[in-house]
């Protein structure tokens, strides 16, 4: 946290805002539910379909995306006054690509199995609309600390959906969670069968669809949005 607090530009601020002021908390919390990047903004769907067959890769993917959104937001925000407007997209892209490559390399070095499962999808974080979307919409116009929070929030918002979808898909598709058998053997003995559809990408679409439906019925703010 030392990085963020030192990076907050204090010069133009008259009264220093608290690190976790109400506004900052909202920045962090909004993307989790009210403004979730996947279910409300419907961004970053493709990777949500692809890496949610099992919980473990989904978790790792979520951590990767949180890292990328948080730090690309932070770095872009730090550079926001110096970035030439005409090449800003390219500059953002370089920042994002660098972070994603670092994530990819680290996964290959420390979590080879997971990195094989995620294969191209780690690299595709670069093209994840959430990342560039937050840079353009938030980080370019905001101070570093709120930008960082916004990045974390959006990454976590994405991750929640990923993990929830993965829990459903792994449980019903393979009868396991995190690789451990959850559905007892006697269920299989009595004729229970794993649902093969849950392993295929379309199942993620159904699960996300049901999630959006459920979310819109409990969260009244979302009625008539989009």
């Amino acid at each position: 946290m030392s990085v963020e607090s030192t990076s907050a530009p204090a010069v133009q601020e008259k009264k220093k805002e608290a690190l976790f002021s109400k506004k900052n908390i909202r920045t962090l919390r909004d993307p989790l539910d009210d403004n979730n990047p996947i279910t409300v903004q419907v961004l970053g769907i493709c990777s949500a379909l692809a890496v949610t067959v099992q919980v473990k890769p989904a978790l790792i993917m979520a951590v990767g995306v949180i890292f990328v959104t948080a730090f690309s937001n932070l770095i872009t925000s730090l550079l926001r006054n110096s970035i030439p407007n005409r090449v800003r997209i390219i500059v953002q892209l370089i920042i994002v690509a660098t972070l994603v490559t670092i994530v990819d390399q680290v996964l290959k070095a420390y979590m080879f199995d997971v990195s094989k499962k995620l294969s191209v999808f780690v690299g595709l974080i670069i093209t994840n609309c959430i990342v560039m979307g937050r840079l353009e919409a938030f980080a370019l116009a905001q101070k570093p600390w709120p930008s960082f929070l916004d990045g974390v929030g959006n990454g976590v918002g994405y991750g929640i959906i990923l993990v929830v979808v993965a829990i459903f898909r792994e449980l019903f598709g393979a009868g396991t969670l995190m690789g451990y058998h959850v559905i007892p053997q006697w269920a299989y003995d009595h004729g229970y069968v794993n649902n093969g559809l849950m392993v295929l990408p379309p199942a993620a679409l159904f699960v996300i669809g049901v999630y959006i439906w459920a979310q819109r019925s409990w969260n009244k703010k979302l009625v008539n949005v989009s």
Binding site: V87, V91, I95, T98, I102, Q105, D113
Partner: protein, 244 residues
């Protein structure tokens, strides 16, 4: 509005800075990554002889104790001074069979039974596919097979790296009754097929191009080894040429 020269300089500077960061990361993590790839190769070779383990120590131990690496050529000779590890299959498979260096892994199982693991490499739909095919010591029966891929479509072509597809290969035969090489064919279930069922496995619905890739890969990569297999067969009883 920033000036042109500022924009250019800014772009150049950020490129250089990120390039340095990435170079340092890549160099720093390389030893770990290479160790992972080497371990993965060993694990996959063991998979082809039906030994599945995810434990690093078990893999290393089993592999080092039971697997012998060697390099042969299509004339059936053992190539001395060649290391199976150093050979990049990608460079070999496009040469004419006579020019290829052929890595071979010999697994000695319980009771001294030998299995010959042939590495295979080819192309799928989106990128390379590869694998290991283990033959029993009659040089005909497939004991097991393992396949993997770089970027085949999940659920379709990527199924070649799943057990159900690979298990189909167990017990198949690469030689016809006349001892001619016919390979194991990956065919669509509906296709007409003249050879017996011992030479066919079912392709993957929706993964036709990948299935054909496996088919072509097997034919291309196993055939050159026949020379060596013949020479081992004809020297039965005699001491096997001592591999390096």
């Amino acid at each position: 509005m920033h000036s042109n020269s500022y924009t250019l300089l800014y772009a150049a500077a950020i490129s250089v800075v990120t390039a340095v960061i990435l170079a340092v990361t890549s160099e720093g993590l390389k030893p770990l990554q290479e160790a992972n790839v080497a371990l993965d190769t060993k694990k996959n070779i063991l998979r082809s002889v039906r030994i599945a383990s995810d434990d690093r120590a078990t893999i290393e131990q089993t592999y080092n104790a039971n697997v012998q690496e060697m390099v042969v050529n299509s004339a059936g000779e053992v190539v001395p001074d060649a290391s199976a590890k150093a050979i990049r299959l990608k460079d070999q498979v496009n040469k004419t069979p006579g020019e290829r260096l052929l890595p071979l892994y010999v697994y000695t199982g319980e009771a001294g039974k030998k299995y010959y693991v042939v590495p295979v490499y080819g192309v799928g739909l989106w990128g390379p596919i590869w694998g290991y095919v283990a033959l029993e010591d009659d040089f005909n029966t497939v004991y097991g097979a393992f396949f993997d891929h770089k970027g085949e479509t999940p659920g379709l072509g990527a199924e070649i790296s799943e057990k159900p597809f690979q298990e189909q290969f167990q017990g198949k035969e690469i030689l016809s009754d006349q001892d001619q090489f016919v390979s194991v064919h990956v065919v669509k279930p509906a296709d007409k097929f003249d050879l017996g069922t011992e030479h066919r496995v079912d392709g993957i619905s929706g993964g036709t191009i990948t299935s054909r890739g496996v088919d072509a890969m097997l034919k291309n990569c196993i055939e050159p080894y026949l020379g060596y297999f013949e020479s081992v067969k004809s020297s039965t009883g005699a001491v096997m040429p001592e591999p390096k």
